[in-house]
């Protein structure tokens, strides 16, 4: 899921003026020096780490969900809150260097509804509190006493949703106890997930309200420099198999057409194994024309170590997020030697 962050960071922070910006805010010489970077062996601590880390450049709270309506129709939803820091601290008031970006979407087999919000930290318009947990931007929120039970709401001009999430298993730490490496050069982020929420609630679509049930996946990640400079985009998969196992895998595309891959195999009980570079394999089977762009929407995914050889197909190939940072994000359906549902995120195809 680092791609979004990558793009978001690129848009807001990694461009040339950022240097001036960082200097402007804190008088620091260069962007790299001011921000904290993830280090191996730092244990994550909860509930504090559910909250924001303003000394890291980028961070997100990312929920995706696969749902079905009363008639069996499949739906997907996304609720995302990004934090991007222009300087590594937080203050109250309009001069806060923390910028918040919210993206929300509902995907049906025929349509894809999106909405975006922007806010400055320090005014109360957007933010995250670790306990009791609340993440919000405008009227969108994700909140609960703990992250085990959450109420999730968002709305756009054509859609809204209000759903409840109940955790069915433990938090999952990716990589080495949450330290997730993103390139051969060692770029890394802190990355944990809650992949097994049971979901119930209501979608409001132009056709009317739909009662839905399903499963949801929360991703939490923060870093200051998640990708190497020669990485051009990525393809990220989160898959829930019908047997209860889960798979998170991503493929970072590099300028020389090679890939860096990583992933986590999660058993039905919540035990994890990190998949080293090369053991997760994703191959494009079909490309769709999405608003003039060529975007892969059918994939073959193989993890030989766990006997996974599946076809991943977009529920709606047109799930393009036409936001200030554009990307593709939508629900997928799994067939092959295992079945299930999941979410696919692809960046760098615009």
């Amino acid at each position: 899921m680092a791609v979004k962050s990558f793009l978001f960071a690129l848009a807001l922070s990694l461009t040339a003026p950022v240097v001036a910006l960082a200097q402007g805010f804190a008088g620091m010489g260069s962007e790299a020096q001011g921000f904290a970077t993830p280090s191996l062996g730092t244990p994550l601590s909860f509930p504090a780490d559910h909250g924001p880390h303003p000394d890291y450049r980028i961070e997100w709270w990312y929920v995706t969900a696969n749902m079905t309506g009363p008639d069996g129709t499949a739906y997907g939803l996304q609720w995302t809150l990004f934090r991007s820091a222009l300087a590594p601290f937080a203050t109250q008031g309009w001069d806060s260097p923390q910028i918040w970006l919210g993206n929300a979407a509902v995907t049906t087999p025929e349509a894809h509804y999106t909405s975006e919000r922007l806010a400055r930290g320090g005014t109360g318009q957007a933010g995250v509190i670790a306990a009791p947990f609340e993440a919000w931007i405008d009227e969108w929120h994700m909140r609960g006493d703990t992250v085990d039970t959450l109420q999730l709401r968002a709305a756009g001009t054509q859609f809204s949703y209000d759903v409840t999430l109940e955790a069915q298993g433990p938090l999952i730490l990716h990589g080495q106890d949450g330290y997730s490496v993103k390139s051969q050069q060692g770029q890394a982020s802190y990355y944990y997930s809650q992949p097994s929420y049971a979901l119930s609630g209501t979608l409001t679509l132009p056709q009317g309200e739909v009662a839905v049930t399903g499963s949801a996946w929360l991703d939490r990640e923060w870093s200051s420099q998640p990708l190497a400079s020669d990485q051009t985009g990525w393809d990220w998969f989160s898959i829930s198999f019908d047997g209860g196992e889960k798979l998170m895998g991503f493929r970072l595309r590099q300028a020389d057409d090679s890939y860096y891959t990583s992933g986590t195999w999660i058993t039905a009980e919540g035990d994890t194994t990190a998949l080293p570079d090369g053991s997760f394999d994703a191959t494009v089977l079909e490309v769709s024309d999405v608003g003039g762009r060529d975007v892969p929407t059918r994939w073959q995914v193989r993890v030989p170590d766990y006997d996974v050889d599946i076809t991943v197909e977009a529920l709606n190939p047109q799930a393009w997020m036409d936001m200030s940072i554009p990307y593709w994000e939508g629900p997928v359906q799994i067939s092959g030697n295992r079945t299930g549902v999941g979410y696919l995120e692809m960046t760098g195809y615009d």
């Binding site: 001036a20 402007g24 222009l86 309009w94 806010a119 400055r120 318009q125 009227e139 001009t157």
Partner: protein
């Protein structure tokens, strides 16, 4: 062959430099006035557009405080967290500059100056610059401690910055001025009253407010520009027609020598295009000078009338060069089409003798008369049935063009009558000869007619406006002193302080709101002697003041009454549960907004938190009260204004309008004079064969010259006499149709006979000046030339 033809064509101009000058000068004048006016208009519009674009004014709905002028920041957050997509704006004044703070992350219009100024969002947030144009930046430089970035596209006297910087510079931490409502709102939004009951939503105005208000002013300017252009094209048409007539022999010879007709026409057309480009170039340069000298006055007028900020300095925009050159080429094309067609159609073996250029062509004249009658008929229909500003201007156009086209016929009939009553051979010949010349002069005379009519019409309108407005100021500015206080506490103290020293205290208090679905003000009136004695109504019910004072009725200004279609006796809703009958309609000249006036008690009940900080004070001893306020109460001198000052300021605004109008009047009149001069000059050369017999029969050359001069005067006087009713009709349309549509008020029309007499005199002088040289040339024609006419048997 081509080169030889070009040389032959050019030799004509070399031998007739005056014709060449006429052609180029006509084009240059036409282009100059047109592009000058366009420059003024586009500069003003660019100013409004930048203002509207950067601040999202006009485009979006807004939330404004119902009372007071600030919105707490907490209200903004509460609205956002309830799902209201609104963007905060902080506004204030620093040394006459409007400082606007926005939040680029939530502003529905996007980033505003960010991006325009070549700066991206992170840089904008980090460096926290203030955007302003060069002139505004210079004003602010020493006053604020924030980096100023010059962004030429920023509206004049406006500076735009981040909301944080604006709050800091304006000392308004935690306070917002208004909220801009995004057109895209999410589902499930609660009603505004539930989240922020203290805010009022004001609907988008559909285009910038200021732009709409000032439209009529700019349309007036454009009409002037078009008129001048038309007059210039008359000149060009005359010059081209003459040149082609004179070159008939040459054209026949060239064709007889084997020059293909198509190439010849092409060459003549290209020759004209070259002239058009040269004339256009000179015209655009002249236009720039015209615009540069008019713009400061126009800017001052617009600011005074509408509060519209227009940059007083002209920027060279590539579009003017293009449009100036384009209009010059287009005008030449229009003027030359007829001449080129006649060259193309001329039979090779036809007589190469210059036709009497001025021979009337019956067919064309009949068409002209029919078109004229048609246009006048349309004008009549529009006057009765038309609605809207565009219709008003359509009416103007039909009236003016129709009248201009009818001019030759009317003059011809008049001259024929004069001829019938003429005694003696010379007189009869004079009238007959004048009639014979009429077609050649008619274009120039039409130009004179239009110029004079425009002069009469516009100056009648402006003078009527001034007279009405001066009278209106005398009624309205009844208080001897006007005092501003800084806050509500000081206002209360002031009322107590002045109570024993004045005969009446008149608070100035209003809120902006919506009435009958239109943006309007509700004004509080402390009804006493001043209102009862000074206020004049356009229409009123009996006991109007008693009823208003009792809170049983309301007064509205003419703007609101006309726009909402209300009049005395109709009901007006002031709030959902407060509906009162209208007891009177008052004139409110100069105010763009609709206004309703209620008694102070009713106002307080409707808007309990609104408090006045400005007061009008009635006193017999203004100087004594002023001194007391400064010495004993501690008010600063600047916060007290006396009646005379306000009146002087208001009138100075109209003086500036006058300056602009007067300058344009003189310019159009000069162009018309020039047109007459050129027509006479070209005719003079051709008239030798017509005059030679008269000379041979015993009229001296001197006498002939005198007759030429008299002819010019007679035609000018006739035209001026016809221009007067046309001008008055024009004034009526401007006052009773255009003004009502544009501003919402109707002005009484006053007539200024002395001004018209002076104007007629000017036209006469212009005609005499224009005729003097051609007449003199005629008087000095060598007898040999006159004799030659007979020798050549022409």
């Amino acid at each position: 062959m081509t080169a030889a033809t070009l040389a032959a064509l050019w030799s004509h101009w070399r031998r007739n430099p005056l014709q060449l000058f006429t052609l180029i000068a006509g084009l240059a004048l036409a282009t100059a006035l047109w592009s000058g006016v366009q420059a003024v208009n586009s500069e003003a519009r660019a100013s409004y557009d930048t203002a509207a674009a950067t601040l999202g004014e006009g485009q979006y709905d807004q939330l404004l405080p119902t009372a007071g002028d600030t919105i707490p920041e907490g209200t903004f957050i509460a609205l956002r967290r309830a799902g209201w997509i609104v963007g905060p704006v902080v506004e204030g004044q620093i040394a006459g500059v409007r400082l606007v703070g926005i939040d680029p992350l939530t502003a529905p219009g996007g980033l505003g100056p960010v991006g325009n100024g070549g700066m991206d969002l992170p840089q904008f947030l980090a460096e926290q610059p203030v955007f302003a144009n060069a002139a505004t930046a210079a004003k602010l430089q020493t006053l604020i401690d924030a980096p100023i970035v010059i962004a030429p596209a920023t509206a004049p006297d406006t500076a735009i910055t981040d909301i944080f910087v604006a709050q800091r510079l304006l000392n308004g931490q935690g306070q917002l001025s208004r909220l801009i409502v995004s057109p895209d709102q999410p589902l499930g939004q609660p009603p505004l009253a539930q989240i922020a009951p203290d805010l009022t939503r004001r609907a988008a105005q559909g285009g910038s407010d200021v732009g709409r208000l000032t439209d009529s002013f700019h349309l007036n300017l454009t009409a002037f520009g078009l008129l001048s252009f038309a007059v210039g094209i008359f000149i060009v048409h005359g010059a081209i027609g003459l040149a082609f007539e004179q070159r008939r022999t040459m054209i026949r010879t060239l064709r007889a020598l084997g020059m293909p007709l198509r190439r010849l026409v092409m060459l003549m057309a290209s020759e004209l295009m070259v002239f058009a480009l040269i004339g256009g170039l000179i015209g655009v340069c002249l236009g720039y000078l015209v615009a540069a000298s008019l713009l400061p006055d126009v800017a001052a007028t617009l600011k005074g009338l509408y509060g519209a900020q227009v940059s007083g300095t002209l920027q060279l925009r590539p579009s003017w060069w293009l449009s100036g050159m384009g209009i010059s080429v287009l005008g030449t094309g229009i003027a030359a089409t007829g001449a080129l067609l006649s060259v193309a159609r001329m039979p090779l073996l036809a007589s190469a003798q210059p036709r009497a250029w001025a021979t009337a062509r019956g067919n064309a004249r009949r068409i002209q008369v029919m078109v004229s009658l048609g246009l006048l008929l349309i004008a009549g229909l529009l006057a009765v049935f038309g609605e809207g500003l565009i219709m008003g201007f359509g009416l103007l156009a039909c009236l003016l063009i129709g009248a201009a086209l009818a001019l030759p016929l009317v003059l011809d009939v008049t001259l024929r009558m004069a001829q019938r009553f003429a005694k003696g051979v010379t007189a009869q010949w004079f009238w007959a000869d004048t009639r014979q010349q009429l077609p050649g002069l008619s274009l120039a005379l039409m130009a004179l007619l239009l110029a004079m009519a425009a002069n009469v019409g516009v100056s009648t309108m402006v003078s009527s406006f001034r007279l009405t407005f001066t009278g209106f100021l005398d009624q309205r500015l009844a208080s001897e002193l006007y005092v501003s206080t800084e806050n509500a506490a000081q206002a209360t103290a002031l009322e107590e302080f002045v109570a024993p020293r004045t005969s009446e205290i008149l608070p100035r208090l209003y809120v902006e709101t919506e009435l009958a679905g239109l943006p309007a003000e509700i004004y509080s009136a402390r009804i006493g002697r001043t209102y009862r004695e000074n206020w004049q109504f356009l229409a009123e019910a009996p006991q109007v003041w008693d009823r208003v004072a009792a809170g049983e009725a309301v007064l509205v200004n003419e703007q609101l009454a006309r726009r909402a279609g209300l009049w005395v006796g109709d009901d007006l809703a002031l709030a959902t549960d407060v509906v009162l009958p209208i007891a009177g309609v008052f004139g409110d000249y100069g105010n763009p907004m609709g206004q309703a006036m209620v008694s102070e008690d009713l106002f307080n009940a409707l808007h309990p938190t609104a408090q006045s900080t400005q007061f009008g004070l009635r006193t017999d001893d203004p100087q004594g009260l002023r001194d007391a306020l400064i010495r004993d109460f501690g008010l600063s001198d600047q916060s007290i204004t006396d009646q005379a000052q306000i009146k002087a300021f208001s009138l100075s605004v109209f003086e500036r309008t006058f300056t602009v109008t007067a300058a344009l009047n003189i310019l159009t009149l000069s162009v018309a004079g020039f047109a007459i001069f050129m027509s006479l000059l070209t005719l003079a050369a051709m008239r030798v064969p017509q005059l030679a017999p008269a000379w041979a029969l015993g009229l001296t050359r001197r006498r002939l010259g005198q007759l030429e001069l008299i002819r010019a005067v007679v035609l000018a006087v006739l035209t001026a006499l016809l221009a007067l009713p046309l001008g008055l009709a024009l004034a009526w349309v401007l006052l009773a149709v255009v003004n009502v549509e544009a501003f919402g008020w109707r002005l009484p029309m006053y007539v200024f006979p002395r001004d018209y007499a002076v104007l007629g005199l000017f036209a006469l002088v212009a005609a005499v000046l224009a005729a003097a040289w051609p007449a003199r040339r005629l008087a000095h024609t060598p007898p040999a030339d006159l004799l030659k006419v007979f020798a050549n048997g022409r």
